[in-house]
Symmetry: C2
Subunit: 156 residues, 2 copies
DNA sequence: TGCATAAGCAGAATTTTATTCTGTCGATTT
DNA sequence: AAATCGACAGAATAAAATTCTGCTTATGCA
């Protein structure tokens, strides 16, 4: 289950985090190693689930996703046992993140929609229909100052 | 400034969002087009800032980032004009996102640290030293159910 | 301690890609 | 109608990915 990352692994992660499409050859050059050795490591990192996926950050405005909001949900599931409220939220495409947070059955949900009205209709048509949702509190983002999917790579 | 995306562009975005390291040749095959044509489009998407960056999603636990928290900050900048509070927050490596939200000078900040104590010391050492920060309210994430940097690609 | 095994790497060979260039076709402009 | 532009295919070339072989050094184990 565990997996120890050495400095070379960390350097690879750092460079790939900054640019997932860096060529293996470039990686090898920058780290002064053979491409075959780097490839071996990258594949191992993928296999060990250190690397989860490679993704492309798209400008939300370019695809009409101009509104970003965070929604706090309170679920009223008395004894409904661990309902799948979270799973139902996660199934909504516009929902980007679902976090279970401290506090009585609370979720923090990040949503992107075209505009305010589409958020409203989304909430009415999908979110409110999920059982056990007692209350919601929505926070609209006016401006995003920083948005980095980057993690802090420990530099040993 | 504007840029119209046709169905081919959207298909490209969708596939690259799912896997930023897909080869241009594969893309071309899947869309039944010549690699040169696809390459042209991808470069244009990059240039037009539709594609922002290619990034690698790393398992946070693998690099000792086990704690995720959202912090609400209230800035008390009376007439300090638009201070650079946000910029100072953004400069902290552990801070992943900074959003300016509705409400009197409020920010929503997403932070990842090793554990609770490191979050505490981070707040004491860095965040509290930022001028004009009046109050903070921290929400600890117990479990992340969904975490997709994916945007909903409109399917015309 | 000493042998056996496995991990990590370099280097070369081979298969695929990326990239560039040229020319076609159709739509738009003038 | 001629000129121009955009989008694309196809071919040629440069570069990269991938695989394989062995070498070297840890690591394990008897």
């Amino acid at each position: 289950m565990e997996f120890n990352l050495d400095n070379i692994d960390l350097a690879i992660l750092e460079k790939m985090q900054a640019n997932a499409r860096i060529s293996n050859a470039d990686l090898a050059r920058e780290l002064s190693m053979a491409p075959s050795a780097i490839l071996e490591r990258v594949k191992k990192l993928e296999q060990k689930d250190v690397i989860r996926r490679y993704t492309t950050a798209i400008n939300p405005a370019a695809i009409q996703q101009k509104l970003l909001a965070f929604i706090f949900l309170r679920s009223s599931e008395g004894f409904t046992c661990c309902s799948d409220t979270a799973a139902q939220l996660a199934a909504i495409p516009e929902v980007q993140e679902v976090h279970h947070i401290a506090g009585e059955d609370c979720y923090l949900v990040k949503v992107r929609t075209t505009d305010a009205s589409s958020l409203m209709s989304l909430m009415r048509s999908k979110m409110q229909k999920i059982p056990n949702i007692a209350s919601t509190k929505t926070t609209i983002v006016l401006e995003t100052v920083k948005e980095q999917p980057d993690l802090v790579i420990p530099k040993t």
